[in-house]
Amino acid sequence: MKKLQFFTIGLSLLYIPQSFADITLNGFASIRASQANSDGGTTPFGEFEEGEISFKSESLFAVQATADLTEGLSAIIQLYAAGENDFDVEARWAYISYQLADNHTINVGKLANPTFHQSEYEKVGFAHNFSRLPKAVYTGFPFATMEGIALNSQFELADGDYTLDTKVLYGSWDGNITLNGVGNVPLGLNDIMSVNATLSGDWWKVFSGAFTTEMKAESLDANSYFPAIQPGVEAALSLGATQSDITNFTNAVAWDKKDGLYWFAGFGVDYEDWLIDFEYTNYGVQDSVDAPNENWYLALGRRFDSYIITVHAEESKQPDDYGFLNGINHPVLQATGKGLQGVLAANEFDGYGISLRYDFHPSAALKVDYFTGENQITNIGDYQIMSVGVDLVF
């Protein structure tokens, strides 16, 4: 019903009479045939069906309407339909934008969450040279959009030789998230505070950013983590653990009201038709059972007129971090905590890929790629992804 309402609002915006607002329509689409295989027989990433060639897994369509209400005010809605969600139409974005000054714009509403450097346009395949952005960094968080307020600013430095783009954002998100060993569970992110910055010259850029949030995870703790540690808790009680030990342990494991911290840094080069991109990301729930996730990708590309060939490596790791067990002395509780962290952190993977982009039309790019990697989950193990597709913008 909510989707229908958003769709109706979207259509209403499109039909505002010309005398009220100047409407600009833009859009993007990806039509891709993909196949993923793994030695363990399980799909390496949720959108693929293991062993099947699918035109649905990575195909998507979006239309964005920008209503210019004059004097710096505009309303933007982006309607988005992805194959992995059966092409159900959703209002991915719906916000009002006001230009405070030439270099400052404030946006309020349902916005993209700039979690990492390319998160805001990660679905726009035409904007990058991969068939898909490296999964180690761009995992497709459900909180890719959020409700809040953002200030976009742009500063010219050194007489315009350099540009500094910044974004400061406050907001919140409620939804569901899929965690390894736990499944799909409700989660909320309260008081999201985000800052990111990109400094760029003619052929280079460096960037960094971070966001903190208070986790709303009462249900996740009560229905997933606490039942998972219950056998260990009972064993510890039978072996002399006190109620105080148990309370300290459950508090140490829990996510609710803890701080989530996400940050990233990297650089990009586009010089004499050589392209280099690197991004490192790190995130986790502080002082909880969640060990920090450490991810990166490095890509080297070469442009030959209308063709770009890119090779890249990527890795997603979650090394053990038992700091949350400081002060927990009972060996059974220690072992239980380490065991749960091990289950949550099992989805570690790396891989190498080669992608070819051919700009056969000013608004459309044909892309072919091959990616191979290894996941530590034995049901996945070694895996490969192949795809052929077209990304376009209009």
Partner: protein
């Protein structure tokens, strides 16, 4: 030696014939002096004002020789690269590409009727309803 000089002169002439400048036009009332960096920033959405502080309204071409010269001589990007650049801005809500028209005559008409406008055309298309601000 004379032959060598002749060959060099011929080569330079051929290069000159092939590397045509893009002609930047503004409204006749516009007194701003423009350098290439400022012109480029206006058409990449990085500058929203003329050097004198007045608002700027860029008008783009969808194609043609002047568009090719603009991409080669000023922006230094292909049509696809420029589209990818604008995609990042449009789909993050940070900007909209300048409005485009199909012909140089439409650029001239718009600029001649809009005091804050700036456009580019090929040299031969200039008429006295607009002012040439620069050539790049």
């Amino acid at each position: 030696m004379r032959y060598v000089n002749s060959i060099i002169l011929l080569a330079l002439s051929l290069i000159a014939l092939n590397v045509q400048a893009v002609t930047v036009i503004v409204h006749p009332s516009n007194a701003n002096a423009l350098n290439k960096k400022t012109f480029k920033k206006i058409f990449l959405g990085k500058s929203k004002k003329f050097p004198d502080g007045s608002q700027v309204i860029p008008i783009d071409l969808t194609g043609g020789d002047a568009r090719e010269q603009f991409l080669n001589n000023v922006v230094g990007k292909s049509e696809s690269q420029l589209k990818a650049y604008w995609s990042k801005l449009i789909f993050t809500g940070k900007g909209q590409a300048p409005k485009s028209v199909d012909t140089e005559a439409e650029v001239i008409k718009f600029v001649s009727q809009t005091p804050d406008a700036i456009g580019y055309i090929s040299d031969g298309a200039v008429d006295d309803t607009v002012k040439v601000a620069a050539k790049f």
